[in-house]
């Protein structure tokens, strides 16, 4: 009976797996994830610098129980044979990883140069989102003022 309970409790996801996952996440905080390996071409060496954002979320749970016989209390269940036992567990999670190049570093005979990488798409999205939000806010304000 006790072995059965042990077997069930082992099958339920534990915090250890979550901790392992978190350790892998913290490994992202290293410079290796931000800077690429240098690439040599002639007299020049180039490496890129990127911004990295990683997020994860998870949750798990489980439970096990014994089938109680008639007149049997919870405390008796460990010692007395009962009808059966059962349990279950489960978990789930999700994550996101985003990376964006920020600059290219060039090491050459003239010295070291940092060339910024501009993402026009992101800037355009920010511009149009702000513009739409501004118009929406202003039209609401106008409507509010008309009512006054």
């Amino acid at each position: 009976m006790t072995e059965g309970i042990k077997l069930i409790s082992e099958s339920i996801p534990s915090q250890d797996k979550a901790n392992e996952l978190m350790e892998q996440l913290i490994a992202v905080a290293d410079t290796k994830s931000v800077y690429s390996d240098p690439v040599e071409s002639g007299e020049y060496m180039v490496l890129t610098a990127s911004e990295v954002r990683v997020g994860i979320g998870f949750g798990f749970g489980g439970g096990a129980g014994l089938e109680a016989n008639e007149g049997q209390t919870d405390q008796d269940q460990e010692s007395l044979p009962s009808g059966g036992y059962g349990g279950g567990g489960g978990g789930g999670g999700g994550g996101v990883a985003l990376g964006r190049p920020v600059a290219a570093i060039e090491i050459g005979p003239q010295g070291v140069r940092v060339e910024p990488i501009v993402d026009p798409t992101k800037i355009a999205i920010a511009f149009f989102t702000t513009l739409v939000s501004m118009f929406a806010m202003m039209s609401r304000m106008k409507r509010g003022m008309r009512r006054m």
């Binding site: 978190m22 992202v28 911004e51 990295v52 070291v112 910024p116 304000m141």
Partner: protein, 99 residues
């Protein structure tokens, strides 16, 4: 306090040195780590490089132009919206007073 430190960490990390053409380059990055019991978040970004040449150390910052432009646009948009709102309120106040 310690629990808070475990939950939120700001790390400045120095990478492995790269040596070429008598120049030593050390990449530098800053990471924000949020550690929660139900997950976590890491934001790692490059902050600059340290260039060592002829026993002189120079730090070159890495500027995220895209992020600055995005934040600038959002801040400007908010400023304009607030400014128009204040002007509108003032105009409405004048109309009510009969000015």
């Amino acid at each position: 306090m310690n629990k808070m430190n475990d939950m939120l960490q700001i790390k400045s990390v120095r990478g492995n040195r790269i040596e070429t053409q008598g120049v030593m380059v050390t990449p530098l990055s800053k990471a924000i780590v949020v550690n929660l019991p139900i997950g976590g978040f890491v934001w790692n970004r490059p902050v600059g490089i340290e260039v060592e040449k002829d026993q002189q150390i120079k730090r070159i910052p890495i500027i995220d132009v895209t992020l600055i432009a995005q934040l600038g646009i959002i801040a400007f948009g908010m400023f304009l919206t607030i400014a128009f709102w204040l002007i509108g309120r003032k105009k409405l106040g004048n109309i009510k007073k009969g000015v």
